[in-house]
Each structure stands twice: as C-alpha cells, then as structure tokens.
Amino acid sequence: MSTLFKPRTVVQAIEDAAKSTQTGYRFIDEDTQAEPFFSHAGIERASARFGGALQSLGLKKGDRVALILPDNSDFVFAFLGALRAGIVPVPIYPPTGLGQLSGYLENTLHIVAKSGAKVLVTSPEIRRVLGTVQSRAPELTMVCDVDTLKAQREELRPEKISLDDTCFLQFTSGSTSRPKGVTLTHANLAANVHVIMDLGLKVQSFDKGVSWLPLYHDMGLIGFMLAPLYHVNSITFLPPLLFLKRPARWLEHMSREKGTISFGPNFAYALCVKRIKESEMVGLDLSNWRVAGCGAEPIRAENLKAFAQKFAAVGFSEKAFVSCYGMAESTLAVSFSQIGSGMQVDRVEGSALWSEGIARPVPPSQDEAERVANVVSCGRAFDDHEIAVFAETDIESVSPLPERSVGELRLRGPSVMVGYWNEPELTRETFAGGWLKTGDIGYLAGGSVYICGRSKEVIIVNGRNYYPQDMEWEASRVEGVRKGNVIAFGTMKPTHDRERVVVVLETSLVDAPARDKLKGEVRRVVQQAMGLTIDDVVPVDAGVLPKTSSGKLQRAKTRELYEAGDLLARGSIREVDTASVVKEVVKSQIGYFRHALLGGIGRKD
C-alpha cells in the first residue's frame, strides 16, 4: 500500500468530509419533482440525528438494524446514522414484484433472523406487506417506520469506532443457497475504497458521480455512497426505477452535472442503446465522462461497442470504459482494467480454452475459421491484494497454475471479508489455505485477470468445458425466446455415458409447431456459435423458471426440477400469486435486475 494511505473508519470519513459545504449528495425524486441536496456538512448532521434516533430505541454498539428502504435519501441517512452509533446496518432489498411475494418474505425473514437484527426500519407500505415477520424472528423487537425516526431530535451519543469493528453485513442471495451475510469491517472498507478511488480510478476532488444503482447492493452502496465520503466527491442519485423507466435520465444527469464517473452492469449500456431516442440525445454532452465502469454481470464487448458508437455523437469516448471484476466477499472491487484505455479483449482459441483449459492467443491476422473466444480483461490485482489461479482440487491452494491456465480464481488481501455472519461452516468452506475461493473460473495473462464463468456451472461434454452463460446468451438471441429467461445446464444420470446439455427457455409461443420450430432454431444457433449440440431444448411458459427472491435465475434448482421430471408440471408465477394470502402484491425495483445486476460473473453465488 502506498505510504500516503492512512486507513480511516467510515465514521471518521463522514466527520472529515463535513468541512465541505460545496460538495455533497443530490437525490433525484421523480414523484415529488424535488432534488434535495445535502452538503457533506449536511450529511454529517442528518446522519448524526438518525444515529441518535436509533440509539433512542435502545440500540447499542454492535447491535444489528435491518433496513428495507426504497427511498435513496432515507437509506443513506439511516445507514450512515447506524454506522455513527456503531450499530451494524443490514440492508435488505425491497419486496420483489410481479407476484413472487412468498419467496421474498421467506428470504427477508431468513436475513432478519440470521443477522439477529433487533430493529427493522422500513416504510409504512412495506411494513404492511411484511406482516408477520416480527413474530417469526426471535430477536426482532420492533418494526419501525422510517418517518417516525426522521422526526426524532435525539442527540447522537458518540461511540468509539475502530477499524476492526464490524461496519455492516451485506447479504448475498445465492442461486443455490440461502442468503449469506458477508461481514465487512471498517478496515475492509478503508482498504477497498483506497484501491477503488486512489489506485483504480485515480479519483480527484473535481470528479463527480451519477448513479442509479440500488443502494442495497454493493456496487451502489460502496462505490457511490461510501467511497465518495472518503474522497469528498459530489454524487447525484437517481432512483433505480427511474433509470429502468427512462434510461435517458441517466445520461441527462451525467450531462447536466458534467459527471465524470458512473457505473452500470452490461445490461444498462444495452438498455440505453435500445431505448434512448435520437430526440432524447439532443443537447447531451457526455464529454466529461472519463470512467464508465461495467461490472456485476458478464461483459459483452458488442453491447459496449454499440453504446460507444451511438453516443460518440454526444461526446462519449469508448476509452472511458473500465471493465470491473468484483464481489461482496472482497468488499466490492477485485480488479479494474486500466483507466483511459477502454475495453481490452483477449482473443484466444476456443477449442483450447474449452478442451484443454488453456487460453492460447490467436494471432490478429488469423481468420475466424477457428472458433475464437473473446475474453474481456478485468485488469490487474491492486497493491497488497493478490489474485491467483488454482485447480479446484487444490484444497490448500498449494500450487498456483501458470499464466494462461484456466482454473478457479482465488483472492487474498485486506479487502477480503472476515467471513459470513454466524456461518462458521460456510466460512471455512469458502477459504482454501488462506485464499478466498471465488467460485469463478478464469485465467491470468500478463498480470491481468480474465473471467470465463462460474465453476459449479461449467458443463463438460466429451472433455470440453462449456459455460452456460454463453449458451444462454446465444439462445436469448433467438426470436420468440424471452430474453434473459434462459437457463442452460448439464445433467448426468448414471445411465448416461456423458453429461447431457439442456436448455430451458421461457416463451409465450403456445402451439406445438411454433415451439418445435423454436427448439430447432435454438439448437442451430448454439451449434453454430459454440460447436455444441444441445440434447434437449425445453420451452416453458413465462414465469416458470425458478428465481431467487431477488429475481436471479436458479440454475441448480432448474436442473433439480428437470431431473425429477417436475419442470413441465410447474405453474407460472401467476398461480403462486393467486395462492398468496397477501392480496396487495408489492412490486419492487430489484425484480427488474434479475438477469442483470445480481447475476452472473462478478457476483459470488
């Protein structure tokens, strides 16, 4: 670590930033048309008041408080207020929409109970939906309305907070398991903020951010809410729903604020290409945008290229793209590609990658006769942090694999979490000889990290490895397939001599001939793109594929259903909805991120 770096707690950062009355956070609210601005001095005061209000409920240092707050400013002050009182916030996403309420309640209850939260702070509307949560979480003594807390005028009783104290719990929703609480200390935060802001993005005082990312998720929470406190930068927050409804608003605010830094998953850039009209681009100026971060899901070079092409006319430079690798278990950031260089792609031989696990470069001159895999570079490990590749069987992390050998990516360094809250067994399983097992498969080349997919999901056919994400991506391109609602997996039954490849996809086509035609088309497209024959294509109705309450497709669960022969018997979410006792189905933001924000590469699940 550079000699200049002095780790500070988040609390110290809030207090230090309070000297500034010029910089701060602006909250865009479409419903009220208001844009309240809080200077860093104002953030200090508002968070102190919230901290005092939480203390007045009897919460003490080390106690947990669960937060389900869809409003950005409520969330920021409740979260920071808790930190200032030494209370450990546990962010939970708001209810899922479009009918999957029962799963949401189950997950929320699990998180509240597992974290041992004594108090849950939420809005009156969500409180109604939560219903009986309180009676089912033994340690939860109170569900508190956020407006009541805001009206309080209790003084904050200062607590001594040190770097080794727990800062907050970030529950990650797994596709195969219950959410696990990543436990982060102030030291973790200080270390990761330092690598993001100083080493990765080289943030200066003039940098301004614009973010529509949900704050209950690490990319928005740490990247745009906590890190800018350390560096005293101004941020404009848009509600996630507003971006999804009107993607142009993101770019309008970037333009208006002369924003220099913003992040989004791959899908956000694709959505802008698809939805923003020529007329909405008039007057935009994106020439100040120097860091356009992309992470949290597989990065598709063609989507980013299309974005750069479309918005070059209003000053966007493709050199601004920064590809990012990160996960909650490593606080947020693991590695970033070099700023100012744009996206870097490694062209490797597809067959060697899949059959031998070797990333052999393809000379630029070679034509595309041999299948070429384009793997996006996610840059180097940061100072004091290590990324290495090991065979998955190397349970003590004894022999790192050489350059360009594909294996499991493992991490070490001050950003790596202490463990999962109250899950000693899971925590032990997640480390191998002191290294964090990411579950991601990739390789290192020239010091940079390249990610191929998730280990548990790799499909092996005749000794070759295929990544389901690639197949799902290809199948999604076929007309009639519901984009982002495709699951590919391998299945091995004792009677089979090899792993069979299955693709399950949602479609609204109903008649048999149309579905048959669709099956043929999906087979053809995947065959052409990957040289792989699918054994079984299964079209199902919309809403049938199992999802986590955060809307993430569940690959392992789908395989289970398929193997048990239950997949086709499964009703769509409509029936789940009707069966639900709660009539008032509450829809949330996070449902809209299902194939995006919380899915794929960069999330450990």
Binding site: P95, G97, L98, E125, N485, T507, S508, V510, R574, R594
Partner: protein, 88 residues
C-alpha cells in the same frame, strides 16, 4: 383532452401490443409477465409510454400494484379522474 374508460382501454391495448409476445391473447385479466411474456424491463418501457401518452405520472408505489392489464387501466383511469380528465 378528455378520456373515457373506453378510449383509455383502447390506448392501453395499443401501447401494450408491440410488447406482447407472438400469439399471446390479450385480455383484461392477462398478467403482464406470466401471460403476455413482457419482461420486467419491458414493463417499465410500457409505463414510460403510458405516462407520455396520458400526460401523467405513475408513482413508484402505485407501480408496485400493477400486475394485469386491468391494473394498468385502473392506474390510468383513477389518475385521470383525479385530475378531472375522465368523463364516464
């Protein structure tokens, strides 16, 4: 301009139609996702188009209760009525 429940319904259907997947039958009780195959991002696009067409704003909280075509129509008519732009 003044709307009637009839013209609102027709307009809603017109806006929904391009998002509906081939040969899904559109009716009042159709669930936007389960029946019509509109994905969650598509739902947001529909909402934006509706807001533009009817010149009104549907707040996030109201959005959370929209599941079917009838819910969409209801969300629009109740707001038009509140603004005195609906004649029954």
């Amino acid at each position: 301009m003044t709307w009637t429940p009839e013209t609102v319904r027709n307009e809603v259907i017109q806006i929904l139609t391009p998002h509906v997947q081939a040969d899904a039958a559109l009716s009042e009780s159709s669930h936007l996702v389960a029946d019509l195959g509109i994905d969650s991002l598509g739902v947001m696009e529909v909402i934006a188009d509706l807001e533009d067409k009817f010149k009104l704003h549907i707040p996030d909280e109201a959005l959370r209760q929209v599941n079917t075509v009838a819910d969409v129509t209801q969300a629009i008519t109740s707001r038009l009525k509140g603004e005195g732009r609906l004649s029954e």
